[in-house]
């Protein structure tokens, strides 16, 4: 019988010993590490597979649900079309920046409004079947997340990204909503021209469609 430390264990502990346990502990066989590495490499692959399966199941069930939930137009792809009226009215005035939206494996591009402010609801279906809505607020020089259906609201607390303050923010020019799998990135008009729309896959440019 040995007494434990008075702070942690005031009563005597039977066989609490372990003084014979020396550091470093028992050597672990390398095969075990190989097995764990294999498991780690299988995990992301299965995640990708589950995602693609969910994406394949998406088109059947989306449209009605999206319309009644967010009162956004047609379907997930067409949801990009609700741009601010200012941008569509005078397309000649060039916006100061663009917002790249990465959501459920797709890339969307949203120009900042040339004047006035606007909110853009991004509606999508997550791989687990639930429907998420992110309300993105756009001003001529900045963007922030106004409303979100995620549980922790980290994306709202990340504040706004302007064309100037991205050097001081820890997340740079990004706003990330991890539960809804949405990443917003604000880039300036020069960067947008430098990248070129052709390098960004098949982006949706709502102002020109």
């Amino acid at each position: 019988m040995r007494r434990g430390h008075p702070l942690f264990c005031p009563f005597p502990i039977p066989h609490s010993g372990g003084r014979e346990q020396t550091l470093p502990g028992k050597p672990t066989r390398p095969i075990i590490f190989l097995l764990i590495i294999l498991l780690i490499s299988i995990l992301p692959a299965s995640a990708c597979f589950a995602e693609s399966a969910a994406a394949a199941a998406l088109p059947d069930s989306t449209p009605e649900a999206v319309v009644e939930l967010a009162s956004a137009p047609d379907a997930v792809e067409a949801a990009e079309n609700t741009v601010s009226p200012e941008a569509t009215e005078n397309p000649s005035a060039e916006p100061k920046g663009y917002v790249l939206i990465q959501y459920s494996g797709q890339l969307g591009i949203l120009p900042l409004p040339t004047e006035g402010e606007s909110s853009f609801p991004l509606t999508q279906m997550l791989p687990n079947g639930s429907i998420s809505v992110n309300l993105i607020h756009l001003t001529p020089e900045s963007v922030w997340m106004e409303e979100s259906t995620c549980e922790n609201h980290d994306c709202i607390e990340q504040g706004e990204v302007t064309l100037d303050n991205w050097r001081d923010r820890i997340l740079g020019n990004m706003i990330i909503c991890l539960p809804n799998q949405v990443v917003l990135e604000l880039i300036s008009a020069e960067e947008f021209r430098q990248y070129g729309p052709q390098d960004l896959g098949s982006p949706v440019i709502p102002g020109e469609t």
Binding site: C9, T28, L43, R167, L178
Partner: protein, 228 residues
């Protein structure tokens, strides 16, 4: 755990106790709002008190029990608190951190030296991207530099004090947990740029928080006479 005189009943009892303890500590992690202190600048960070249980297990149990404990903790806490994606993130982080902790238990110096190298690399990377930091970024770079120096100190103190063995393990476990989670996030979100912007910050935070939990784990193990 692996001692000869341990009966099966004793093993089961201790395993259940550790799983329950890690679940309760996970609940406490959620109760301590670390993001509020940092005004939402760094999303998704927590103290990681549940990691102390895993550090304890790495030293006193065999690898199979450690793996089972991690799996039970991840799945149960995911089912209780979070969603399916939360399980995915914490499973990738937990697997990587367990692997690294088992390795660092054997080679403690490599662990702390590697973490300090990682932190130094993150500082250099952030300074290259942004040569004149200000505001949040400045504090963040200072934090990562402090973390780098702290893990370097652990490396040098390891020669004299065996106590720092546990801290080195906890340090590298926390950082690799962050690494696994951010890798999974980059994969799920299809944004590899996340690795460039967010990973350096997470390395610094992980090292600081890992130091704290390492001190806790070391004190507990010493108090229970599990350490010389």
């Amino acid at each position: 755990m692996t001692r000869k005189r341990d009966t099966t009943a004793k093993k089961v009892a201790r395993f259940g106790l550790l799983v329950a303890l890690s679940l309760v500590l996970g609940l406490m992690d959620r109760a301590i709002p670390l993001t509020w202190f940092l005004s939402g600048a760094i999303p998704g960070i927590k103290l990681g008190l549940a990691n102390t249980v895993l550090v304890y297990a790495v030293y006193l149990m065999d690898w199979g029990s450690c793996f089972l404990l991690m799996l039970a903790k991840v799945v149960l806490s995911g089912l209780i608190f979070g969603s399916l994606t939360a399980i995915l993130y914490s499973l990738s982080g937990g697997l990587l951190s367990l692997l690294v902790m088992l390795l660092v238990r054997r080679y403690p110096k490599a662990g702390s030296l590697g973490i300090s190298g990682l932190a130094a690399a993150s500082v250099v990377m952030l300074l290259i991207r942004n040569p004149h930091p200000s505001g949040q970024m400045l504090w963040c770079i200072i934090l990562i530099a402090v973390a780098c120096l702290a893990s370097l100190a652990v490396f040098f103190l390891l020669r004299r004090h065996p106590d720092f063995h546990v801290i080195s393990t906890s340090l590298s476990g926390a950082v690799s947990h962050n690494l696994g989670q951010i890798l999974m996030a980059a994969l799920v979100l299809h944004t590899p740029r996340l690795l460039v912007t967010y990973l350096p910050v997470l390395v610094g935070i992980g090292a600081v928080v890992g130091w704290l939990t390492g001190v806790i784990a070391q004190r507990v193990m010493k108090a229970l006479h599990h350490l010389p």
